[in-house]
Symmetry: C2
Subunit: 305 residues, 2 copies
Amino acid sequence: MRLEWIEDILAVAENGSFQTACEKRNVSQPAFSRRIRQIEHALGTTLFDRSTRPARLSPHIHDQLDRMRDLSAGLRDLAAALQDSEGTRRRRIVIASQHAIAATSTPEIIGSFADLDIDTRLRSANRDDCLAQIMTRRADIAFIHDVMGAEEIPGSDFLEIATIGEETLIPVYAGDKLDVLNEAYSHGELPVIAYPSDVFLGQVQRRMIFPRLMRVGRVRPRLETALTLAALEFARTGFAIAWIPEPLARDEIRDGRLVDLRATLPAVPMTLIAARLSDTVTPIVSDVWERIIASVHSRTALAIS
Amino acid sequence: MRLEWIEDILAVAENGSFQTACEKRNVSQPAFSRRIRQIEHALGTTLFDRSTRPARLSPHIHDQLDRMRDLSAGLRDLAAALQDSEGTRRRRIVIASQHAIAATSTPEIIGSFADLDIDTRLRSANRDDCLAQIMTRRADIAFIHDVMGAEEIPGSDFLEIATIGEETLIPVYAGDKLDVLNEAYSHGELPVIAYPSDVFLGQVQRRMIFPRLMRVGRVRPRLETALTLAALEFARTGFAIAWIPEPLARDEIRDGRLVDLRATLPAVPMTLIAARLSDTVTPIVSDVWERIIASVHSRTALAIS
DNA sequence: ACATAAATATGCATTATTTGCATGTTAGGC
DNA sequence: GCCTAACATGCAAATAATGCATATTTATGT
């Protein structure tokens, strides 16, 4: 098992084909094809379904993508840590951000302390993993979503928590396929993309969205994925309704490619939370934390004026 | 970065020399020597100090051993998970055991449910990591040490906890080097192996052992390591006094290679704790849990009779 | 149905990497 | 100083991986 293997698999999963993946990996197509074959042979499993073009991820591999991203980041961090000799203690901070937030607000938040010249590592994981990385000191600050009425954040006795923003989870669907949706709706059916019940957004769906949906029509989960970006893609193609943090869908709603269905279907306001351990606060983490809090205040001031 | 690299490094760290590591890795000594060189070159760092024989871990690498063990286990788990096709849901359980416990009581505890024919994965980590693996559902049951008067177990609101045994942390030293120790002691000095302050045993030392030691003599930490097995090794060579869970040193005390210094220096009784998440209890975890509890009771009964 | 393009696989020769055996060098103990 | 154990290096052979050229197959448009 090698970091290279993981990166090869992720490259195909994220680029959608062997062809584009091999370009990204700077390997010729035949060598890449053979590489994937060799990895499959070494692991004793089929990673991709080649009966279609482009090849598709085998269904059982999909569930392991987050784990692979996590391990890949861990291996890179290990290499960096091993290279850090005793004498070169770098100014570094590790941020663990929920996937959906990593694609929306995190870049801007990180920008608020970029001038501090701190080596910043961003890890994208699901909510539980972000918190675990804080608890185990593998990350310094986490960005996660929270919802009113949800369970208390696990481990919150040991964490310092700050609210740094708001994002609404909104229902979206393809702008040019509304007739399909209305057809289903006229049969009393609502095709939806479900998030898995063991991730936060899945729990939000099951507690706060689906019960309210049932008053509108019969909820028909057509797909389950933990990836908001994948859910967004399926909504865009008119496959089913997806609940997406609003900033992620903003551009496509503006373009008309997606329609915001908030007028009809339930949306959930979420707060954006920053978390860090209460104890062992290093100067670097303190500096960054202050900056993050300050950036919330300055953004709030701008919104008012 | 490869799993193989991590395993090579760990093999040297745990076996104490290139020579024994290469045997364990089924590679000839020259090839292994070259391999470590190549890994060092690829990583851009010196992993081992070869100016002594046997070679010794470079100090800055030592801090990364736990991380390497964790990643190594994660990579093996990933390979296994990838191989698990959708149709072959295996009966599996993951146990996260504190390093010191993994070497003492865990094999016997696992033996108590071996007949259940459950694919059991054992991961050895430091105490915080064991708990984190439970919190993040990467492990089902954790075995950790606890001490009277210590801080509450982190996350215990979410955990079901059971006391399953007792192990005493005892001071030991080389049986044939007592004159060296007495010499130091006559100068009012006690050379000790310290555990790092960020691991549980280090905290126990600093709170419950060193304050009491100071009434006896001046504590001189000669080495710091998180590995009880390494501490045991240094005690055996007469380098300094080490505090070791008693079962780990039992054989060598019986042999006379080590001396149990409890009569003079403080020992700390620890309890052996099993922990699991309170919610989402699967039948497999329940079965195993019951077995573990039952095995405590049957062991207690034997001790009485 | 046919043609075309895109995507993946295979043959072949070349290059790169890794290995074990034999041997050299050096630390550590007596 | 001598001897042994432990790590390093030379050499040749074996194994692994690559790119180019070509083959095969899916998907799409006409």
